[in-house]
């Protein structure tokens, strides 16, 4: 598993629940380390161990925690770089949804050996979309629900999201767009650069 993913979990836990929680979790998971390096590779089992320990520590469902992680990835100032990269997907929320088909390729463009699962958007009507999340990363669809919810806010769109369950080997997320320009949304300046 790419360290980026583990590192994202670490950042989310430390920011949301505090450093002591993270130390308890890594201790309970028996990792022997408390810090993940974003650009190193780790065994897949490590991520599962961390998530199991986190669920136990917080006494919450894994899917719920992963949705919160998805929201964190888009909405927290720590993750501004990632939000910007996602916003390159489109000018509107609907355009962004359509760009999800390319998300794994885009990720690979940034980090050549980062493999994210395939996503496929199917338009049911202009106001309803189904996102098929193919296997490869357990819990990815839960994270995506959080991401899609937060980025809808980012675009100022009002959308309802639900995890529909399984269809073949894919997990399906339903996105019902109630209003595409419900609120102002957050500004996206193409030329913004970090100081």
């Amino acid at each position: 598993m790419y360290g980026l993913i583990n590192r994202a979990i670490q950042s989310f836990v430390c920011t949301t629940y505090g450093q002591p929680c993270w130390l308890r979790v890594t201790e309970a998971a028996g990792l022997g380390i408390a810090e993940f390096e974003a650009m190193l590779l780790y065994d897949d089992a490590v991520t599962a161990q961390v998530l199991d320990a986190l669920c136990a520590d917080l006494n919450r469902q894994r899917a719920e925690i992963l949705e919160d992680l998805g929201t964190y990835l888009v909405s927290h100032p720590n993750m501004e770089d990632l939000r910007r990269l996602l916003r390159f997907g489109g000018v509107t929320y609907v355009e962004f949804l359509h760009s999800l088909d390319d998300l794994s390729d885009r990720a690979r463009l940034a980090v050549s050996d980062l493999r994210l699962p395939m996503l496929e958007l199917r338009e049911v009507s202009p106001a309803e979309y189904h996102l098929y999340c193919y296997p490869g990363l357990p819990g990815y669809s839960s994270v995506m629900v959080g991401v899609l919810r937060a980025i809808a806010d980012d675009y100022g769109a009002l959308a309802m999201l639900s995890h529909e369950g399984q269809s073949g080997d894919a997990e399906v997320i339903t996105i019902v767009l109630i209003e595409s320009s419900f609120a102002e949304g957050r500004h996206f300046d193409l030329g913004a650069r970090k100081s």
């Binding site: 980026l4 390096e37 974003a38 650009m39 190193l40 770089d81 990632l82 910007r84 990269l85 390159f88 489109g90 000018v91 885009r106 463009l109 940034a110 980090v111 300046d189 193409l190 030329g191 913004a192 650069r193």
Partner: protein
């Protein structure tokens, strides 16, 4: 034939940074994105060369010359600030009616989006500008993550080197380890002998046969020293071809001289490296902790050093005891 206005409308969509010029080089129309770069200063009606400066090809200075570059690429700059660089492609209109010049930011895209607050809507749907911007940001973020990892790894490496006690090449102890052993022995009031061994002619092997041969010789020499000493002795490589051997509990000069003799005779035997003969030898100086009232590491090392110097002076491949030196009253005080 399509009307100029129809053509312009088409170009607005396909290449929003186009300029249409007439046969005199006057701007007939400019695409919306290009016009956005100079708000409040309509380009229409102005001379192309008044708005843009031709940077390359340098030989072209007139509008006639420019229009003759059909299919050619030109490099331009705005005359006024910000002097954004642009590249252009020239396509002449039929019947000598001027030309369409399609402009693009090229590499200046990063500054341009910031300077002019451009948005996705300013680029045509097939333009790779947005993908390029995405890529730059994505790669910058990935590079930063890698760089911070590199810095941390470098820090860890330096710390590890700092703590290392092994000479990587020979597997012997290094200078730091020797200092520690010496310190322990002295603070524990142990008696011991300190042998300073220097390889003779090592430099010539290195120069003549290369570093690989030199490394091989050092490894062989290290092996010999380990074989000729006991497990409780400390063999350290403290410099390029310098070694120190510490014999714990051994202060019998005749035994030490025997060991030194064996070391020298074995080190003198030619070693074969990739078919080439490497001949070295060794000089050794030995001092005893018991020769000093309150032994001090630097003092002992210096004593062994002086004995080594004497051994070299006597013609190399020799062993010299510090006691002999002291007895003869010859103490080269100027030595180091």
């Amino acid at each position: 034939m399509m009307q100029t206005t129809e053509l312009s409308a088409l170009l607005d969509t396909l290449c929003p940074m186009f300029v249409m010029v007439d046969d005199q080089g006057r701007i007939v129309n400019a695409g919306p994105t290009l016009q956005k770069l100079r708000p409040g200063h309509p380009m229409r009606g102005r001379d192309f060369l008044d708005v843009f400066e031709l940077v390359r090809p340098r030989t072209v200075t007139t509008i006639a010359g420019l229009l003759s570059l059909a299919g050619g690429k030109v490099h331009l700059k705005f005359h006024d600030e910000p002097r954004t660089a642009l590249t252009g492609l020239i396509a002449p209109l039929p019947k000598g009616n001027g030309a369409i010049i399609n402009l693009s930011f090229g590499i200046s895209i990063l500054d341009a989006v910031r300077d002019y607050a451009l948005t996705s809507a300013d680029f045509s749907g097939t333009d790779l500008a947005i993908e390029l911007l995405y890529l730059v940001e994505a790669k910058t973020a990935a590079m930063e993550a890698s760089r911070s990892l590199n810095l941390r790894l470098q820090g860890a490496m330096l710390a590890a080197e700092e703590q290392a006690v092994t000479d990587m090449l020979t597997g012997l102890k290094n200078r730091r380890a020797m200092d520690v052993v010496l310190g322990h022995l002295i603070s524990g009031n142990s008696v011991f002998a300190l042998m300073h061994l220097d390889l003779d002619f090592f430099k010539s092997v290195n120069d003549r046969l290369g570093h690989a041969a030199g490394d091989f010789v050092l490894q062989q020499a290290a092996r010999i020293m380990e074989e000729e000493t006991r497990n409780e002795d400390t063999v350290a490589r403290i410099g390029g071809d310098e070694f120190v051997i510490i014999f714990k509990g051994l202060v019998d000069e005749s035994v030490l001289s025997d060991i030194a003799g064996r070391l020298i005779s074995r080190l003198c035997q030619p070693m074969m490296f990739q078919g080439a003969q490497c001949k070295i030898s060794a000089s050794i100086g030995t001092a005893l902790s018991t020769q000093f009232g309150t032994p001090d590491a630097a003092e002992l090392l210096n004593a062994a050093d002086q004995a080594l110097y004497e051994a070299k002076r006597q013609g190399r491949s020799r062993h010299c005891l510090y006691s002999a030196l002291a007895a003869s009253g010859r103490k080269p005080a100027s030595w180091q």
